[in-house]
């Protein structure tokens, strides 16, 4: 990075630290904060969408649809996250490769399962083994977003399902009295009003999602916790910048990051809550008026 960094063994003090903190590996560490934030900001809306669809399905008048929604909520919420992340991702990846194998290599005669091995033709590999590293990274990142969205979508579905039920029945009856169809009443009356009931649950989920990001490493993505562990670990003379075990400093840094991030989230969520309760005949709105008055 700096011109004086060419021979690390001669450096001392501040210069050594400046060079140390700007090595390629540290740069990758700083970038991984972006990876984590990116994951959060992509996953949250997708999970919310899954949750909304799940809740709608669970309320459906069409029985198989209702069953589907309820099974999704029950099964995904019941399976431990780690088991889900280990099993589901490998299964999903192999499923995609198997479909591509069927489509792209119809002439392939060898079986896909050979003992322990899972073998598809080279053209069906996802991504191709010749693809540059960033494609591999993007692919595993997409798998991660999808998996996180399914898991958190199930919890969000449950929260939204409850929130939809919490909207006072007279509101819906009034809508019907005005001649709105079932669909119109759902979109115009229920959905705008349910958010205030859903928000506490959803904000919990957001906080849990923030803290669940270290699970990324299970999916082969190098997140901030991986780098903190890797960079902080004991370094012998085999490395250009040998140092003792510094993990405690790196993890302190992560602690500060997570605390600041959850604090900032809390501020934003409080603002949203104030907006949503505005003008509503709920305790939250009147309480808020007293506090801000």
């Amino acid at each position: 990075m700096f011109s004086f960094c060419s021979d690390p063994s001669t450096l001392e003090g501040g210069k050594w630290l400046a060079c140390y903190l700007t090595t390629g590996k540290h740069m990758a560490f700083y970038q991984s904060f972006g990876t984590v934030l990116g994951l959060l900001f992509v996953t949250a809306p997708v999970a919310l969408l899954f949750g909304f669809l799940g809740a709608m399905a669970a309320r459906s008048h069409f029985t198989p649809m209702r069953w589907l929604g309820r099974i999704y909520m029950a099964v995904v919420r019941g399976v431990p996250d780690i088991a889900f992340f280990l099993f589901f991702v490998i299964a999903l990846d192999q499923g995609i490769e198997w479909l591509r194998h069927k489509a792209l290599c119809p002439d392939w005669t060898e079986p896909v399962r050979q003992g322990n091995d899972f073998v598809v033709c080279p053209a069906a590999k996802m991504p191709l083994s010749s693809a540059p590293q960033w494609i591999h990274d993007t692919y595993s990142f997409s798998l991660a977003v999808f998996t996180f969205a399914i898991v958190f979508g199930a919890f969000a579905a449950n929260v939204l399902f409850g929130a939809m039920r919490a909207v006072p029945r007279p509101q819906m009856e009034t809508a019907e009295a005005y001649g709105m169809s079932h669909r119109q009443a759902f979109w115009r009356i229920m959905v705008p009003q349910m958010w205030v009931f859903a928000l506490p649950g959803l904000s919990n989920l957001w906080m849990i999602l923030i803290k669940a990001t270290p699970l990324l490493f299970l999916l082969g993505i190098k997140d901030i916790v991986y780098y903190a562990k890797e960079l902080g670990g004991y370094k012998t003379q085999a490395f250009a910048y040998p140092h003792p075990d510094w993990r405690v400093f790196y993890f302190l840094g992560l602690l500060v990051f997570y605390l600041l991030f959850t604090k900032a989230s809390q501020i934003v969520l409080d603002k949203i809550m104030r907006r949503l309760t505005h003008g509503q005949a709920t305790l939250g709105a009147s309480f808020d008026k007293e506090v801000t008055a």
């Binding site: 590996k25 082969g220 890797e230």
Partner: protein
Amino acid sequence: MKKLMLTTAALAFSASFATAGETIRMGTEGAYPPYNFVNDAGEVDGFERELGDELCKRAELTCTWVTNDWDSIIPNLVSGNYDTIIAGMSITPERDQVIDFTEAYLPPAPSAYMALSENVDLKGGVIAAQTGTIQANYVANSGATVVEFATADETIAAVKNGEADAVLADKDYLSPIVAESGGTFVFVGDDIPIGGGVGMGIRESDGELKAKFNKAIESMKADGSLGTMTKKWFGEDASTY
């Protein structure tokens, strides 16, 4: 404009299909210096990086490097996320049931106990070892209590923190740590001769690739370059082929 972009994207896509040939993905742990580690530039480095690149050159293969957790390094090989394991993995009968090994590129090397002082109880104490290693297996059968960690680095930290009395690991891994600790760490007891040499792990269905690497390893043994490389990374008195 949109159409143009789509065409370019389609072209780029088909081009990447056309070049889908022999790229071998080399899987390693990247946390076991001097065998393999991720250097300060963020690249895979170490004895196995240099060896792997040379083997690929001799076998006329294009290789790329991937790191993977030690814990799941075998499952990810058999499910096809990469094509080889080159991560200081000892050839054992248990592993050989799941994957295949090339012939050894490092002869059987001893393991050793490392602790803070010489008077620790190796038979009845608490010994740290990395999960899924021959050392963890050995400690479990020795009567001592084994505590397992995901990385080798954490086993060292455990001894330093007093969480474990000693650590059992490859002596080649521990030697630089003992030498640079300024007397904090010492070797305890005799060397333990376990392990059957270190080889590359290959899927059982991938006989062709195994043959290619075997040929390359043999040629490096024959012209002495493997011995030179081993001495460069493990010191002059390392046992070599």
